[in-house]
């Protein structure tokens, strides 16, 4: 009798093991969770991620449930939040800021059955960790072109958040394309060391304006730099960052980079539902619609607008790569020879400024 029970239990266990494997082919209901670095109301970075999350619900209706937490500090505290989410039944967790890279991988090791998706990072230490990013530098190229054409003082500015490759890449692309159309252009970079601190972002923009800068690009998450530019009555222009920031049309916001995460989120949750989910390293840009260029307003002369749109179309068609040689590094050494295009590996590890930018990247 006892032996029979044992056998039955073993058989049941075996059956469950196979059954478990079978259910991995698809799920009836997915709980997707999102970790945000700022508030949804930032109208920038986090807002766009949340729009993507809402799109997932829109698409799959009852088959998905979402949960999210705002204002999660980068670093150790994120681990606590991630663990909590994992324990609360999330099937897939999207961590939407660079600083969550290590916490994501640490927690992923403890929950092998839960999928983790880290935005803008490069570490995939476990099979259940995927990374996804957008090619913001494609949008920066178009902004740089507009900046080079529009500046009257020949001084353009960039508010950087943290000195990480994603930001450095954007600065290089912005400067490269401004320089191409305006050889006299000078770039001032201010590091804010924050993703979201409206008062500090406004101060940084003001410092740039006081220095004579009249075109400001920002790689932080709020609309504060545009609000500061708006006080100058049209003397200073800027760009929407992460979100369209249409409230500041037609000036100071003359164009924008819109992060459209919705297609990616919808795709990944869909794959989890139908069982085709696999680990990926996704890096989509203008061609895939993940990076969108917001309307270029009438504050920009028609010919500049046409050139900028032509560049956008060329990137979309795949005929132009923003980092096409010859490009030298800041110290004058050759990075890309004539006609070479940058490899993705080079871009993702970019920790140097290109020739012509003054100042050092904080280490």
């Amino acid at each position: 009798m006892k032996r029979t029970t044992l056998l039955a239990t073993a058989a049941l266990g075996l059956g469950m093991a196979f059954g478990g494997a079978a259910s991995a082919q698809g799920m009836d209901k997915v709980k997707a969770c999102f970790v945000y670095v700022g508030p949804i109301g930032d109208l920038g970075w986090t807002y766009q991620h949340h729009q993507g999350a809402l799109e997932v619900v829109e698409t799959y209706g009852d088959k998905v449930e979402i949960a999210f937490q705002e204002n999660v500090p980068e670093g150790a505290d994120a681990e606590r939040v991630l663990t909590q989410m994992a324990l609360s039944g999330c099937n897939i967790i999207f961590t939407t800021s660079f600083g969550y890279m290590d916490p994501t991988n640490t927690v992923a090791a403890k929950f092998p059955d839960i999928k983790f998706e880290h935005s803008t990072g490069y570490k995939r230490e476990h099979p259940n960790v995927s990374t996804y990013n957008a090619r913001f530098y494609e949008g920066r190229a178009i902004q740089g072109h507009i900046a080079g054409k529009m500046t009257k003082t020949n001084k353009i500015g960039y508010i950087g958040s943290f000195p990480i490759p994603e930001v450095v890449m954007g600065i290089n692309s912005y400067y490269l394309h401004a320089k191409k159309v305006n050889p006299d252009v000078q770039l001032s970079v201010v590091w804010a060391f924050t993703w979201f601190d409206p008062a500090k972002e406004a101060d940084a923009a003001k410092a740039l304006i006081d220095q004579g800068v009249d075109v400001i690009a920002a790689h932080t998450d709020s609309t504060a730099p545009l609000a500061e530019a708006a006080k100058t009555n049209g003397a200073v222009i800027g760009f929407g960052q992460a979100s369209d920031m249409a409230d500041f049309k037609p000036s100071p916001r003359v164009s924008s980079i819109i992060d459209n995460w919705a297609p990616y989120y919808v795709k990944r949750v869909g794959q989890l539902l139908d069982g085709t989910y696999e680990q990926v390293d996704s890096w989509a840009g203008i061609p895939e619609g993940e990076v969108e260029i917001g309307e270029i307003t009438d504050a920009v002369p028609a010919e500049v607008k046409a050139e900028a749109e032509a560049m956008r179309d060329a990137i979309e068609a795949g005929t132009y790569h923003p980092f096409t040689g010859p490009i030298n590094k800041q110290d004058g050494s050759v990075w890309l020879a004539d006609g070479d295009v940058a490899s993705d590996g080079d871009l993702l590890g970019m920790t140097f400024f290109i020739e012509g930018i003054t100042g050092d990247i904080p280490q």
Partner: protein, 309 residues
Amino acid sequence: MFGGIDPALLIAALMVASVPIILAAIGELIVERAGVLNLGVEGMMIMGAVCGFIMAVQTGSAVMGFVGGALGGAALSLIFALLTQVLLANQVASGLALTLFGLGLSSLIGQNFVGIRPPATGAVPLGPLADIPFFGRVLFSHDWVVYFSIAVVAVTWWVLKATRMGLILRAVGESHDAAHALGYKVRKIRVLAIMFGGAMAGMGGAYVSLVRVPQWTDGITAGAGWIALAIVVFASWRPWRALVGAYLFGGITVLQLNLQAAGARIPVEYLSMSPYLITILVLVIMSSGKGKAALNAPASLGQNFHASR
């Protein structure tokens, strides 16, 4: 011009950048002089920021916005007053709770006001004064709140130093038992001081959402309240020192950004930490020696009062 930085623009910018901290610090200074430690400055500031913003948008008047900010901050401080003066709860815990509560509540109230632009607060037209070289830019081209913040410091100093009201307030803060024995209403005076502190913090918050970053987003004050708290201690509870401390902190914050923008060859890490570092250093030096900051702390600070006799 020093290294490409125009000192007139720099001083003008630091005066504007310091306003929220000064207002909040002066409010807290009065609260602490009355013997109450309210760590909820950040919460009251952000409530002021959201209430001021909503009021300004609804009425179309920036001045009404500041009134709304003061009311919002004072209203939140009443919760603190109820907890600590009536229910005799621990002041440190209540203050921290007030900050967390204020951050959450402001986020809830502000939901429908994200992405709206408030009415502008322009510079006070001072006519020909604004055209004076250097001084015109530094002193005579600000909005009214900048002048108001300096006036508040002056009035606070005068009230504390030279009036009966200030004497009573200080007596309550130094020894609430003695003040009570003399017949002063300790609890009432403290509640009024807490409300003043709330109103000032609220106005400081409103300055952030209406002038410095003219918009509403969650968490917009981003820690300014904590800086204000630190400045009160380092200013050894003296109004003019609080002004100096706030200008110093605001000044170096603005300076480091300007140095970065001007391309100074100083590592950015040092520039970024410099506001905190230099403020601490200078104020430590200022409050050592004859000043003796530690002896300046109100003797009853942080102690609850219960009229048992």
